[in-house]
């Protein structure tokens, strides 16, 4: 195996283009090295993005934020402005693994690993985040909601890499939240998860909403029907019930070692409802 640590994006793209055999990008390594250890992959070339300066920063961009692909989740948690604007995204990022994992892992890695249970992804989808992709043909953007194609599969083309994720500008009276269910209190992969982002209009009525679920389908998914249930409401019981029903209806999970279809479907509704209430309060809504 060959290890390369470029310092510029262009060099990284170049390295990807030149490399022979199986090439893997390395961000925090908390997925990649686990797969190497298990013998699931045997890379010929590993391209470490952590020495690319521009990818190591959280930048204010277009009124929103750009989180570089080498920014660790711990660093996201240390950024007060980001935390204030997108508390749900940051809490999702900070649920990944332990403090040790936090010191390394990235939301870009989380996204690129394309696990249906990835914690930051539903929150990024609810936030309507965009992925900034660099490749031999230059830069392109894609919505995080469309990024994953299936378990372990992304819409990245050969020789492309994700430079950053961009979080849009936040209108006033907005809030987001992310909740996951795990059997323990920490160190588990989500059995099911839900993210809600909303913006309030006059008198605490929900004006805009996005709801996303994780671990209930081959990829994390946006649930427009659940968002619709919230829009125009003040999160009264009827709206929450509709939201819960929409969440359950959107579930197409599997039975596996981490959870059953029945359990996931049921708890998706519970988490959707609970996350909506937290997001609502964060947006300044009063129940």
């Amino acid at each position: 195996m060959q290890y390369i640590a470029p310092e510029k994006i262009s060099d990284a793209v170049e390295a990807l283009s030149q490399a022979k055999g199986s090439v893997h990008l390395l961000a925090g390594g908390s997925d990649l090295l686990v797969r190497m250890k298990g013998g699931f992959i045997e890379p010929d070339v590993v391209v470490d993005v952590k020495r690319i300066k521009s990818m190591g920063k959280i930048k204010k961009a277009g009124g929103g934020f750009s989180v570089g692909g080498a920014v660790s989740c711990a660093e996201m948690g240390d950024n007060d402005a980001l935390k204030k604007a997108w508390p749900g995204v940051v809490e999702a990022a900070q649920l990944i693994g332990s403090d040790q994992i936090q010191g390394r892992c990235t939301v870009v890695g989380n996204m690129c690993n394309a696990s249906p249970a990835a914690d930051s992804v539903p929150a990024l989808i609810a936030a309507d985040a965009q992925a900034v992709i660099q490749g031999p043909k230059g830069e392109r953007r894609i919505s995080v909601a469309k990024f994953a194609k299936g378990p372990g599969q992304t819409s990245l083309k050969a020789k492309e890499l994700v430079e950053a994720v961009e979080l849009p500008k936040r209108p006033a009276k907005s809030g987001d939240a992310y909740l996951r269910f795990i059997p323990r209190t920490e160190m588990d992969i989500a059995v099911v998860s839900a993210a809600v982002s909303l913006t309030l209009g006059a008198k605490g009525v929900v004006r805009e909403a996005r709801v996303a679920l994780g671990a209930v389908a081959p990829t994390a998914k946006l649930v427009p029907a659940a968002a619709k249930a919230l829009i125009g409401s003040k999160l009264d019981d009827a709206a929450l019930e509709k939201l819960a029903a929409a969440c359950a209806a959107a579930c197409a999970p599997i039975d596996d070692k981490r959870g059953t279809i029945k359990f996931r479907t049921r708890v998706a509704s519970v988490l959707g409802r609970r996350a909506a209430l937290i997001a609502y309060e964060r947006a300044g809504g009063k129940l």
Binding site: Y3, V34, A74, G97, D99
Partner: protein, 161 residues
């Protein structure tokens, strides 16, 4: 492919040669003799291999040895000040926060990272901050108490200074 890596471990410059796919945990243990860094799982789940890498708490089993180039590493071997134990080490002993002791190096490093960031953590904060370190012997009770007590001692010292 073999690589020559220059790094700093507990303040000392070191060089080692490793295969590019080797983990930093293996490099520390097998090339640099730092067997205080333990392997409990090799997959980031147990925290026994915890080290500080450029000031960040990480699992050395999830870092490549090659990544250590030019970086600064702290391990349990560098924790005491000569023969004077770090307050955490001392309190772990006093509270019997170790039974078999295999998890101890990782806990000490993680607890040190916690107290550097948050000198006066609550019990809940301690428990969540140490959730990435597994201990099968103690039930964590005495570990949490040792960290609480060490925090107290360190804060007192901090105030005096």
């Amino acid at each position: 492919m073999s690589m020559l890596v220059s790094t700093t471990v507990n303040g000392d410059s070191m060089e080692f040669v490793c295969d590019a796919s080797e983990t930093l945990l293996d490099s520390l243990r097998d090339r640099m003799g730092m067997t205080g860094v333990k392997e409990g799982c090799g997959t980031g789940d147990c925290g026994a291999c915890s080290i500080m890498l450029d000031g960040a708490l990480v699992c050395s089993c999830l870092v490549l040895g090659a990544e250590a180039e030019g970086r600064e590493i702290e391990t349990v071997e560098g924790m005491s000040d000569g023969s004077k134990l770090h307050p955490l080490q001392q309190k772990f002993l006093e509270h019997a926060a170790l039974q078999c002791g295999i998890c101890t190096p990782g806990f000490l490093i993680a607890a040190k990272a916690l107290l550097e960031k948050n000198p006066d953590p609550t019990e809940t904060e301690i428990r969540y901050a140490l959730a990435g370190n597994l201990c099968r012997c103690t039930g964590y009770d005495k570990i949490v108490r040792a960290v609480q007590d060490a925090a107290k001692v360190m804060n007192k010292k901090g105030k005096k200074a």
